[in-house]
């Protein structure tokens, strides 16, 4: 396993100077993943923050080959690149050992890109699909997605006089991907970089479709100070709101168990999107969210022990 110093000394595949916000989790995630292996790569992005902020013509922050097609089709697009690679390699037109990474936010992955993702996983392409999950449609201005947690305020789940933010819990996309019986799928968070880089390497070394769901805080959408990204990630994981685990050939493995499982309120109270949940009248929502986290965590423990 590489040390942080070694990782930092690797050539940058996503250079500085891009236009992502200060404190954005997405670029931290992507830089760690691209540093995991030395192979030449083709990266595809779904439409989203990462895409618009890294490639405004005539500039690009990408030092790998990169393609953007549309919002809902990054999985299909990169599966086409990978098919072309196999065809051209067979004909001797490509000799290098390429890796392929399709990247979408939660909008491009959980929602509009879900069909293309499912099809790509089923077809068995050798590629890594990376979801940087910031839990809402941040690029269009913080609208709810199926990754938005229960009770979170977004511009399409606003807190009103009769509604306390989003009325539905999150979709468990990682479990849905696991149900495709892919050889490797994992959840990770970039504050635990060794875990994330290790998972990226495993995924990229796997001969088949692999999936990483990585939590990527959004200071604007979650409403916190950009200096607190890593602290918030730590709270997300230590409250078991975002457990770190991997599923290798169907075997569930828990990668991190907090010494003390913190109440989810510790994660919520540092973010403006949940501020209303600390009003007395919204206490049932807060309790429901805690119950949801507990239920998922217990289910994960059972799966990992099985």
């Amino acid at each position: 396993m590489a040390t942080l110093k070694e990782l930092a000394s690797r050539p940058e595949r996503l250079t500085g100077g891009h236009r992502l916000c200060a404190g954005c989790g997405a670029s931290i995630v992507v830089r760690q993943i691209l540093a995991a292996v030395d192979n030449p790569m083709v990266v595809g992005c779904a439409t989203g923050c990462l895409e618009v902020a890294t490639t405004i013509y005539p500039y690009t922050a990408w030092r790998t080959s990169y393609i953007h097609n549309a919002f809902e089709n990054v999985a299909a697009t990169i599966s086409g690149v990978e098919a072309a690679y196999r065809a051209l390699k067979r004909r001797g037109k490509v000799t290098e050992d390429f890796r392929f990474v399709a990247i979408g936010g939660d909008g491009g992955t959980y929602d509009i890109g879900f069909q293309a993702l499912s099809g790509t996983l089923e077809r068995g392409h050798r590629l890594l699909y990376l979801c940087y999950d910031n839990q809402a449609y941040m690029n269009t201005g913080i609208q709810r997605s199926s990754a938005t947690p229960l009770g979170a305020e977004t511009t399409t789940s606003p807190v009103g006089s009769v509604r306390p933010g989003k009325d539905r819990p999150r979709k468990d996309l990682t479990a849905i991907v696991v149900a495709h019986e892919v050889p490797y799928a994992a959840q990770a968070a970039p504050h635990r970089w060794r875990d994330l880089v290790g998972k990226a390497r495993k995924a990229l070394d796997t001969d088949g479709p692999t999936f990483l769901n990585v939590l990527a805080p959004c200071p604007r959408g979650w409403r916190f100070d950009p200096s607190r990204t890593i602290e918030i990630l730590t709270l997300a994981v230590d409250t078991c709101f975002w457990p770190l685990y991997e599923v290798v050939d169907g075997k569930w493995i828990l990668n991190y168990r907090p010494k003390e499982k913190l109440p989810v309120a510790e994660f919520l109270k540092v973010q403006g999107r949940f501020a209303h949940l600390f009003r007395a009248d919204n206490r049932p929502v807060l309790e429901a969210l805690q119950a949801e986290v507990d239920r998922k965590w217990e289910a994960l423990l059972r799966r990992a022990e099985a």
Partner: protein, 402 residues
């Protein structure tokens, strides 16, 4: 019906349906990647190609994707990666590709797609009209139309060369009529595999994602500063396709004896009245022209093969001497001002000092059959207009119950 010069080609005559002819052309081209999703009446193409893959007759990476949107999305990825790639669809499948049609053209990717023309829903219908490809006319794809299986086969081979020409680099649709051509058995001449391989050559893109020495960013966000310039470059490429389509047709003609242009003018030299049609209806119209000629009517046919780029000047040259012209549209634009072909053909004639009376017949929607008697009725309308010196009904629906 294409003029054949005897003795040029070493092809063989076979009986194939339109879909079989398309699938055979795809097999002979042997693209690096084919990504497709089945839809009636295109389905046979996907099935035949699957059997070529299953029997090891092609080395193509064949992607059985989960939708037409993903079919074209995968083609965009594959083409950008440096692969020659193809797909095929019909109607709602083409509509599902809509977003990606523009992206494929905007990224200047030479993808070739067979469009087996079928009416768009709704109401849902599986039979032929041109509402699918006509709706895609402004997406930046070159559009070739095919009267019969022979032309579908020949157009598909030429499409590869046109699309990949370095002066063009635009995707090409090859259109053929659903069921009428896709499922009818015809005799046609097919080329030996080696002659096809020699004709299409190999695809060597300048810029490709899998060029490890030169990583490239494709599809960046393109804002007020440059989007306009890039769209103009796309329009210029479409204009440069005009001589390329002619050159490729000339080379194809030398190799096979089958001559193609932007359109075929049949008995137009001294024609007084003519119809303009695309795809299989042109065959019926040609028969009617001959029948009328025997009765002394100076009738003609203009069969349009290339709708994009639109051959505005050449068409006006060919049509300006007529007394009256009927444009046949197998798509209802619902604008109340006539179908898409009519609007553009009439616009082409506007600057001419001498121009015919024009009228538009919208016909054959949802697979409604159009026979010789109905086309003769169109000629009746034309002769009547010539006699009165005016067109009383510029836009009418042919063969519909009132």
């Amino acid at each position: 019906m294409t003029q054949v010069q005897a003795g040029v080609s070493q092809g063989r005559r076979v009986a194939l349906t339109g879909n079989e002819a398309v699938a055979l052309a795809m097999k002979q081209v042997e693209p690096d990647v084919v990504a497709a999703y089945p839809i009636t009446p295109q389905t046979d193409i996907v099935q035949y190609f699957s059997s070529f893959v299953a029997d090891g007759q092609v080395r193509t990476e064949f992607m059985t994707v989960e939708s037409e949107h993903s079919a074209l999305s995968a083609c965009v990825g594959a083409s950008a990666a440096g692969a020659r790639c193809m797909t095929a669809t019909s109607a709602n499948g083409l509509a599902l590709m809509w977003e990606v049609l523009y992206i494929a053209a905007g990224l200047r990717l030479p993808i070739v797609m067979a469009v087996v023309n079928r009416a768009l829903s709704g109401p849902i219908n599986i039979h032929c009209d041109h509402s699918d490809s006509m709706g895609a006319r402004d997406s930046g794809w070159i559009q070739l139309y095919s009267e019969d299986a022979q032309e579908a086969y020949d157009n598909l081979l030429q499409a590869v060369r046109i699309a990949e020409h370095p002066e063009v680099l635009l995707p090409v649709m090859v259109c053929l009529d659903g069921f009428i051509i896709s499922h009818s058995l015809e005799n046609l001449e097919v080329l030996p595999d080696e002659q096809v391989r020699a004709f299409v050559g190999t695809y060597r893109p300048d810029v490709w994602l899998l060029d490890a020495a030169r990583p490239v960013t494709m599809g960046p966000l393109d804002l007020q500063d440059f989007y306009f310039e890039h769209k103009r470059q796309e329009a210029e490429a479409m204009a440069r396709a005009v001589p390329v389509i002619e050159e490729v047709a000339a080379e194809f003609g030398r190799a096979t004896g089958r001559r193609y242009g932007f359109f075929e003018a049949y008995r137009m030299d001294d024609a007084e009245v003519a119809v303009l049609a695309l795809n299989s209806t042109a065959g019926t119209a040609r028969y009617v022209v001959d029948r009328l000629r025997r009765r002394g009517v100076r009738a003609g046919l203009l069969k349009l093969r290339v709708f994009r780029p639109f051959p505005q000047r050449a068409l006006a040259d060919a049509l300006e001497g007529l007394a009256a012209l009927a444009v046949m549209d197998r798509a209802e634009g619902l604008s109340t001002a006539g179908g898409p072909v009519f609007v553009e053909v009439r616009s082409a004639l506007y600057d001419r000092a001498r121009r015919p009376l024009t009228m538009n017949h919208i016909y054959g929607l949802g697979g409604r059959d159009v026979g010789p008697d109905q086309i003769e009725k169109v000629f009746d309308d034309l002769l009547q207009a010539v006699e009165c010196g005016e067109v009383r009904r510029p836009v009418s629906h042919l063969g519909v119950r009132e």
